[in-house]
Subunit: 321 residues, 2 copies
């Protein structure tokens, strides 16, 4: 597993859900006997979800996210069980319970359900386990929404330890879905553009973002979204970092984008507000010290990393080639 | 539409299917009256597909890809019709015919079907139209495989001018899918690693590649795929360019990756062969002049761009930060 343990020099590693040292053993997923053997091994552990919410064991002030399979059985019937990978000592699985509200089983009065954003924000688990939780949540959510074949409508079934579904009627194969999203800090001299979506926490401003569509490069998606949402044309674009984002299953592709104009034309169906912020303002926002109470997204969000790097002068928008 | 016409400085623009100047007017897609008005306008044109294959009009030695809606009606019944966007003069749609083998209609004995790879390789249409063809193919393929709700199995229906499907039974909404794929040139000093998949044209070697999975950053996906396929651990990774790839609907994310080892361990289920190539060899391969007859992928592939940039010394693998 040496490749999984190297020091990762890229900026992506500083985002939330981005630490994941599991060896996925993807070439063994179709080997049912091998996966069963892993599952029955002494050290095997499972993360557990009820609906979209992680189930945890409370241990005093701490939380234990890993269940033995005997403990999982005590929580209820498993709707899906997927293999996440193997760390340096043991195999990790994830279980989606059939019930969305598990009755704490005998001897498990210490069972709690805490939504994954809170688990992440409050640092209730190690970064490695948080990465595995993100992986599990995206994969289990996909299963929960793909029990039927989109090609013919028949019920389908999970295979490959959770990494494929097959339809026995039309023989279609379906693979877990990951949606690429561009998220960009638009910069203009010493200012950057941040916006507020309806539903953001009070005072929070963040980078603009949107799904990459069919027929687009990352750069084209950045330009389209910035123009649609804020009316700003953009020129040079630089990749900064990426992040797996499990709400429900995106790959966030973080970029800087050079504004070619200053005058905003805000799409008020998408954004409550958007405006230019100076570097001094952003420093205060990152420090939670802005006099107007405006703040950046929290540290686990890739928008936070983009703002930090901009403040540090690491924007990489070199002249056109 | 000024934002769509700026000179794009990034390397992505040099890949195939990456030129697309259509304004998608995504905020108007749900306005059925507006979309109908566009469709009925004098200048409206449609690309046409029968199954996965573009339909073209032969005009002597040239090919005309744009049909009026009267012409489309002459080709057969439309299974799906989607709005691609508006160029500087007129709206573009794409039509998927119900039949996979259209009978040339009266007055259309000049109709031909040519698969999209050949259209691209042979340069049968302008780069702008090729970009629109890629957009259309990915979107129409998604519709053809998603006529039923994956959440409940009921037939669903297309809305938003082709950019969403809704289920009237369970009310699930489904959005077109784009799969992020990492494709990487692994470099070690003056050598790079290229492999051959079964089914590649004779003599062709290309970059390793694979789908980004749930819970991964781009960089983690690069490291996993290179280790799985070739047994090589990788360190620093640098984004180079991206490309929409319509076979069927990927976003190719092109990177350089620094090899931390030289000894290959090839997964023979994925690759027929993989080996190190020197810069001198790659120069000959790009020029189609290698004495052993080995060649790079064609110019429209992002692998070609990665190799060109490597030869030019533009690898951007800076020291760790």
């Amino acid at each position: 597993l040496k490749h999984l343990w190297i020091e990762r020099p890229e900026r992506s590693v500083r985002t939330g859900f981005a630490v994941n040292r599991l060896d996925r053993l993807s070439e063994r997923r179709d080997d049912g006997a091998f996966i069963d053997e892993l599952r029955c091994s002494e050290g095997a552990r499972s993360l557990v979800f009820a609906g979209e919410v992680p189930v945890l064991k409370r241990r005093g002030d701490a939380f234990e996210p890993l269940f033995t399979f005997a403990e999982v059985d005590g929580l209820g019937i498993a709707a899906e069980q997927v293999f996440l990978g193997h760390d340096s000592t043991r195999p990790f699985f994830a279980t989606l319970l059939e019930t969305q509200t598990p009755e704490p089983a005998q001897g498990h009065r210490d069972i709690v359900m805490i939504d994954l954003r809170s688990v992440a924000m409050q640092g209730l688990v190690t970064p490695d386990v948080l990465g595995a939780f993100g992986q599990a949540k995206s994969l289990l959510y996909w299963h929960s929404r793909h029990r039927f074949c989109s090609n013919c409508g028949a019920p389908n079934r999970m295979v490959a330890a959770g990494w494929r579904r097959v339809c026995d009627v039309c023989e279609a194969q379906h693979f877990p879905r990951t949606d690429p999203v561009v998220i960009m800090l638009v910069v203009s001299g010493n200012d950057c553009l941040l916006g507020r979506q309806p539903g953001f926490p009070a005072g929070m401003y963040s980078c603009l973002a949107g799904f990459v569509e069919a027929g687009e490069t990352c750069e084209d998606a950045v330009r389209r979204e910035v123009f649609e949402e804020a009316g700003i044309a953009t020129g040079r674009i630089a990749y900064v970092a990426s992040q797996p984002w499990p709400f429900p299953a995106s790959l966030m592709i973080g970029c800087f984008a050079e504004a070619l104009a200053r005058e905003l034309s805000i799409d008020t169906r998408e954004l409550d507000d958007a405006r230019w912020f100076s570097q001094d303002e952003v420093r205060l926002m990152l420090a939670r010290a802005h006099p107007a109470g405006v703040v950046t997204p929290p540290k686990l969000a890739i928008a936070h990393l983009l703002l930090q790097e901009w403040i540090a002068g690491e924007i990489g928008l070199n002249p056109p080639r």
